[in-house]
Assembly symmetry: C2
Homo-oligomer: 136 residues x 2
DNA sequence: TTCTTCATGTAAATAGTTACATGATTCT
DNA sequence: AGAATCATGTAACTATTTACATGAAGAA
């Protein structure tokens, strides 16, 4: 079984939720998964073709007028792959959090500056949450 | 001012906490910052040279016997760069969290499976916290 | 003597971003 | 007519991991 990258899984998951074009996936991920796992066109289009080759998604052409358009949908194999990923309790899951990294280095600051640091993280959380609520 | 990558900042921060060799940085980061921002030798050694070139760290040779050994320490410019980073309240800070990504796709599971998913995240948190406490 | 740790590095591969090119359709 | 959106893609660059090479020093 080919091991997918987290980005591949994010894309697969979005297709599993609903059949979509690469353009859709970019738009949706920009307003949802972006907050914990982003994806760019440079990933999305090549990855969709890899997933198709692996039999996890299938594509059909659904042009709108003269504009070509490929809609991807999940296959049974893809559905199983997503489920396996979501239910896997064993493997370690990647985390990167620059905000936590900054908190780790708090000793490099004066006491009142540490407060500023914590406050700025809090503000950032609040803004992100508000923005998330707005676009969802 | 050259814009540093988060990895460069992680390395700079570790040097700022204490003068260290590239080997030290790898060891320390493996038992601390790894949980929110990892670094590999392939990043560390080239990055230390870049930071040195940028004047943010300085190196001196401190061989042990016949073993060559370069100890890096922070410069005033480096100290300022770290402080600016830690106190910057404006810029967005990168997050990647595969665990959150999985929770996002919960609708692809049955109700009882969602519970398993949440439980596995919880277990993972507890194990990570326990391990962190152990090595710190 | 053999295993582990200290120590520095690189080559190759994979992952991911940024910026661009292209063109149709829809909205103002 | 002009701007925004829909739609697909790639080239070049940057970031990151993995696996290897090398060898001294110290511990068992």
């Amino acid at each position: 079984m080919s091991t997918l990258t987290p980005t591949a899984r994010a894309i697969l998951g979005l297709v599993a939720l609903e059949a979509r074009t690469g353009y859709d996936i970019k738009r949706i991920s920009d307003s949802s998964t972006r907050f914990f796992w982003g994806a760019s066109y440079g990933q999305i289009y090549p990855e969709l073709r890899r997933l198709e080759k692996a039999g996890l998604v299938e594509a059909r052409d659904e042009p709108r007028g003269r504009v070509r358009r490929r809609v991807y949908s999940i296959t049974p194999a893809g559905q199983q792959a997503v489920r396996e990923w979501l239910l896997d309790a064993e493997t370690a899951f990647e985390i990167r959090d620059e905000g936590l990294l900054r908190l780790f280095f708090r000793d490099l600051l004066e006491q009142d500056e540490v407060l500023d640091l914590v406050r700025s993280r809090r503000t950032w959380f609040e803004l992100t949450a508000a923005y998330f609520r707005e676009i969802c």
